[in-house]
Symmetry: C2
Subunit: 335 residues, 2 copies
DNA sequence: ACCGCGTCTTGCATCGATGCAAGGTCTTGC
DNA sequence: GCAAGACCTTGCATCGATGCAAGACGCGGT
């Protein structure tokens, strides 16, 4: 079934090399020859063998995207954007999930046997820190989401401090004084969480406010369930609250459910703000105010940087910051 | 940087073939030799070249998964399960999105240049019908979600008629009499939609009910927004309704929002049931009653079938049905 | 008549691994 | 003592494509 260059060459009466020239659109091929070869290609249903081509050229045309879990909406939306941009750049995406498993993240970084088949790697690390990134990776790497110590890899991120500060300022501007925070993390890898907390604290401090420790709730996974539990813990704790800043939308949606179940009105009694602007937030009850990182820009930039590196660019790793804005919906302002 | 077998062989003083034997865990290698080779491998940081291996063996270790769009939660959850099972079976997943574009679906089927690099294909077709599936694809294919005309490909699906019927019967059992349906499709490819409609009609007929045509609302894309619009159209139409069966959860969540905005109480005034059991439905207001297809079984079975085919199995295409059940939550029964 | 150049085509080596089958060494059984 | 077999190792061909550099051809200029 699978024809190769040689068979096409024999059928069309030219050399293998000429067929290759036709396939790759090489300039110097006589129109008549090109025609004849093309006919043979069609007749045999010839398709270039990707493995052979890769072996010879050293390129696979594949980009690996590594995310914690696809069923987290933020990562699904990000993956969608990455796949789109990669396709536009002529690449296909291979997808790996780490489930926040440090071993798997390291594995993928090192290029385990059988998993090495890609030209570059886009990694959204959960458990890794910059220190884990090899200084001279065998293939280019772009890191997402974490501000990094200098390495040879490019980093794409948003200004988490400013974003969190903006979100918190919005709550304060709405007259909220008892602000809770859901999603703090103490692990060495919880870099974004630390930055978001920092931003929130700055906003509170500038308003002459502080957050009681009871209102700073950690979360190890950023899921709806984690948000639900954290919110319940806050409500059960009995300490007065009039606003909650969740470090991602999924947790905010979990928090909304907990508030609903406790008959706490949103935003009347408690305002809620999230982070990520996943589509689901437009349909929650009430629709969710949130920080919207420019996901498309993140994906586009990541792919761009990777493609440039694959093309041979070898400057030191860059820090690239993309924009964000605050999307105000009814979870903070009411209808 | 990248070492090859030959260099390892030279360093360890054995033949290339022996190194290969060590790498592949071939049985007959003297422990001492194995040790020496392993040391050389570690010293050089040797990793097998996947392209070369593929060329020689004809296997890439990649499975392609083709879905319409990753930001639709159902497909994201499905993709997650497929990736997990594929990894467990020693495969990596390459991901393609078709955006419901017929051209792209056909492209992928035919194995376009540069995209041919996978051992098998899992396809969740939106625009294709069985007639489009080549009789002798160059690589094995497993189709998801559509009941198929006999081809060489395996098909994994649930009993859409029975599932839709169960959902509708649940509404009727709750005393609902004016049942609307959201998500009908007239296109040749809307096979699941037709089957689900059929199941709903059977349930209605058995209860001596019919659905007024105004209450059968089409949707071309199965998104939250489509569900929102369809629900609005129903409410604006003014025809009395006390239940809505949405052909997927995303649309149901859109419908819930429309109902909320119109101050229609769920489930008191209108009961809502969805389809897919996406995680989001557990957190909607109110939590969503839905048909839960066994997504994990779908993914597992698809990967299993594909791996078997890749392994050389060549029986005619099988129809494989996986289970479903109805998950009753508050959108139909109240708290 | 010949050189030079642009156009078109080709053969050979090569990428890095594995299949095959044979070769060598060492036990084991009779 | 010797054949049979088990254990371990190896050389060569091969997968299908592309890089390289040279070869063949035609044609205008001098």
């Amino acid at each position: 079934m699978a024809a190769n260059l040689k068979q096409v060459a024999e059928l069309s009466g030219v050399s293998v090399r000429t067929v290759s020239n036709v396939v790759n659109g090489f300039h110097y091929v006589a129109p008549e020859t090109r025609q004849r070869v093309q006919t043979a290609i069609d007749a045999l249903g010839y398709r270039p063998n990707a493995a052979a081509r890769s072996l010879r050229t050293g390129r696979t045309g594949l980009l690996a995207l590594v995310v914690p879990a696809l069923d987290q909406p933020y990562f699904a939306e990000l993956a969608r954007a990455v796949v789109r941009h990669a396709n536009a750049a002529g690449y296909t995406v291979v997808l790996d999930q780490t489930d926040a498993d440090r071993e798997r993240e390291l594995d993928l970084l090192s290029g385990q046997p059988g998993r090495t088949m890609f030209d570059g790697l886009i990694l959204n690390p959960l458990t890794l820190t910059s220190a884990d990134i090899p200084a001279n990776p065998s293939r280019p790497i772009v890191l997402l989401g974490e501000r990094a110590i200098a390495t040879s890899a490019d980093h794409v991120h948003i200004d988490n401090v400013a974003a969190a500060r903006t979100a918190t300022e919005h709550l304060i501007a709405g007259g909220r004084r008892r602000v809770a925070v859901i999603g703090t993390q103490d692990t060495p890898s919880g870099q974004s969480a630390r930055l978001r907390l920092q931003g929130a604290m700055i906003a509170l401090a500038e308003a002459g406010l502080t957050a009681h420790p009871d209102l700073l709730r950690p979360a190890d996974s950023y899921t709806r369930t984690a948000g639900y539990r954290a919110m319940e813990a806050i409500l059960d704790g009995g300490r007065a609250v009039d606003a909650v800043f969740c470090f991602n939308d999924s947790m905010a949606i979990g928090a909304l459910r907990a508030l609903r179940e406790h008959s706490v009105r949103v935003p009347d009694d408690v305002a809620v703000v999230g982070f990520d602007d996943i589509e689901e937030g437009q349909f929650s009850a009430p629709p969710l105010t949130t920080v919207r990182p420019d996901k498309d820009a993140i994906a586009r930039t990541a792919v761009e940087r990777l493609v440039a590196r694959i093309g041979g660019e070898s400057e030191p790793g860059q820090e690239i910051e993309v924009g964000f804005d605050l999307v105000v919906r009814e979870s903070t302002t009411g209808p």
